[in-house]
């Protein structure tokens, strides 16, 4: 620090105290930030250090062998990707449609406020409750059995609140004046949404959706009763098949089967982390690209 001469005003007790408080605040804030950064780095670092050795072409593309103590995790990767794809297919249209209805069409009455409150509360429901709900509704009542379909629907319901909230936020951030202009040019409400509001909200909607889905992709509890197979060394043939999925596979090999090589476990964890990371990264890239294209 540079010291400056003739700081008469700065030397009064009031200013000196303010500066001391500021310094303490800086240190506290900096430490908290550092702690967060270090924690996440350590987690990723440990997984990387112990899992990287297990990563190989065979690990990624082979079926599990010897009671999952050897071989690869190919079916779990494929299962996870299929599950995520199906979940997006269910959750995205429904979530965006509800968000459009809530922001663009529904009047601000106590009913819509209640609906909004319900949506916000849904995002606070523990994931295992979603799992039980999916078991009751899709697996048993709808007779989908333990299947990709039942699991994807369960995950979709779990992600819906995130998608709806993010989409609503994105739609609301489009300035009112653009809607007015569109209406003034003879556009209907739907044309205004379709041609003016939605294109501007897409980046926000995409980002929110991907973040919601990437969280769902790592969940174990909702898929536990609805889709996950303990050991299934083949790929699912239809949406009514069970599938192996990464989070549940990780849980199984970490807790249910003794004498599993460490690389097998941490390798699986690493693949899961990389998958989620890739999803999040794609959200960032998408957002950046859209931002460059549209500006106002």
């Amino acid at each position: 620090m540079r010291t400056r001469p003739a700081q008469n005003t700065a030397a009064t007790p009031h200013w000196r105290r303010a500066r001391a408080v500021q310094r303490v605040a800086f240190v506290a804030l900096g430490l908290s930030t550092g702690l967060v950064a270090v924690t996440s780095l350590v987690v990723v670092g440990i997984i990387l250090a112990r899992g990287a050795g297990g990563l190989s072409w065979e690990f990624l593309t082979a079926m599990p062998a010897k009671g999952m103590r050897a071989g690869g995790i190919f079916p779990a990767i494929v299962g996870t990707l299929e599950l995520v794809g199906l979940t997006i297919a269910f959750a995205l249209p429904m979530g965006v449609a509800s968000a459009i209805y809530l922001t663009e069409y529904a009047a601000d009455t106590w009913v819509t406020r209640l609906v909004r409150l319900a949506i916000v509360n849904l995002s606070g429901v523990p994931s295992v409750v979603y799992g039980l709900f999916g078991l009751g509704l899709f697996v048993i009542f709808c007779r989908f059995g333990t299947s990709l379909l039942a699991g994807a629907l369960t995950l979709a319901i779990m992600t819906l609140p995130v998608i709806i909230t993010a989409s609503e936020e994105a739609l609301r951030s489009v300035p009112m004046s653009f809607r007015e202009v569109s209406h003034s040019l003879g556009a209907s409400r739907w044309q205004t949404v379709r041609h003016t509001v939605l294109p501007l909200a897409v980046p926000g909607i995409m980002t929110g959706t991907i973040l919601g889905i990437s969280r769902a992709a790592g969940e174990t509890a909702p898929i536990l009763f609805t889709v996950a197979a303990f050991y299934l060394p083949r790929l699912p043939q239809s949406v009514f098949d069970q599938a192996m999925v990464l989070p549940y596979h990780l849980y199984v090999i970490s807790t249910q089967i003794p004498n599993i090589p460490q690389t097998q476990r941490y390798g699986t964890a690493l693949v899961l982390v990389l998958l989620v990371l890739a999803l999040n990264l794609s959200a960032v890239v998408l957002r950046a690209r859209f931002r460059r294209r549209r500006q106002w």
Binding site: D108, V181, H183, S188, R294
Partner: protein, 253 residues
């Protein structure tokens, strides 16, 4: 009284936003191919009246109205569909508000939502409207650039072109020059005068001098009431109401 030759007419027209009354029983005619200026201090109901003329007011959920407005002898609020009304009665807002699209897409937005798909027809509308808004020569080489890149005055003329592309019968201007420098203002005014041969126009303005320069007749609004309506020359030289005189001479507002 509704004159039979009026393009538009308001009869006992009142507007409320929630419990606040913005307009009190306005009755006036808008004649074909005239520029009707509306002047008055802030909160006098000028803009509320303007937005009633193409049913933009009702986009506000607290909007309520009473009375009638006629367009070519048809009741605007009962005989006609709101989208149809907005195509026939275009509006240019106070701030230049291009949509975050290209220049071309901005101009053909109206024709497109009306269902015109033919490229040749759209291109023709594009050129014709930009020429009429005296913007064609400045932008003809960069029609696909974002409209936001234009200067403020160009953006406002783009908004005029966008309104013209809907081929309206009446054009409403809501303080169209409030954000513009004097040169851009002059260009916009020039455009308005050129358009007079084909369109009926209503100009709401805070600038009494602009009303004097551009309009054929002037209406003075105060606190939601129509105080006086007369030919521009008469209004600015011998106003009948003392409140008009006070406003024009700058004693309030």
């Amino acid at each position: 009284m509704v004159a039979s030759d009026a393009k538009m007419a308001a009869q006992e027209w009142s507007v409320w936003y929630g419990a606040t009354q913005a307009l009190r029983a306005i009755t006036l005619d808008i004649l074909p191919r005239e520029i009707l200026g509306i002047i008055g201090p802030a909160n006098s109901g000028k803009t509320s009246f303007l937005r009633s003329l193409n049913r933009m007011g009702e986009l506000n959920p607290r909007f309520r109205c009473a009375g009638r407005i006629w367009l070519d002898g048809k009741d605007l609020y009962q005989g006609l569909d709101s989208q149809q009304v907005r195509c026939r009665v275009g509006i240019v807002f106070a701030l230049p508000l291009p949509l975050p699209l290209s220049i071309r897409e901005n101009v053909v937005y109206g024709p497109r939502v009306r269902g015109i798909r033919d490229r040749r027809r759209l291109d023709q509308l594009l050129e014709q409207s930009l020429r009429a808004a005296s913007l064609w020569d400045e932008v003809k080489d960069r029609l696909d650039l974002p409209a936001m890149r234009l200067s403020g005055g160009q953006q406002q003329r783009l908004c005029i072109a966008r309104t013209l592309a809907m081929e309206p019968e009446v054009i409403l201007f809501d303080e169209p020059c409030s954000g513009l420098d004097p040169i851009s203002t002059a260009k916009v005014e020039e455009t308005m005068v050129q358009l007079k041969s084909r369109y009926t126009m209503v100009l709401v303005t805070n600038n009494t001098k602009q009303a004097a320069r551009v309009s054929d007749r002037v209406a003075f609004f105060l606190m939601g009431e129509l105080i006086e309506l007369d030919r521009t020359g008469v209004m600015f030289t011998t106003p009948r109401d003392s409140r008009t005189n006070d406003y024009l001479t700058g004693r309030f507002g």
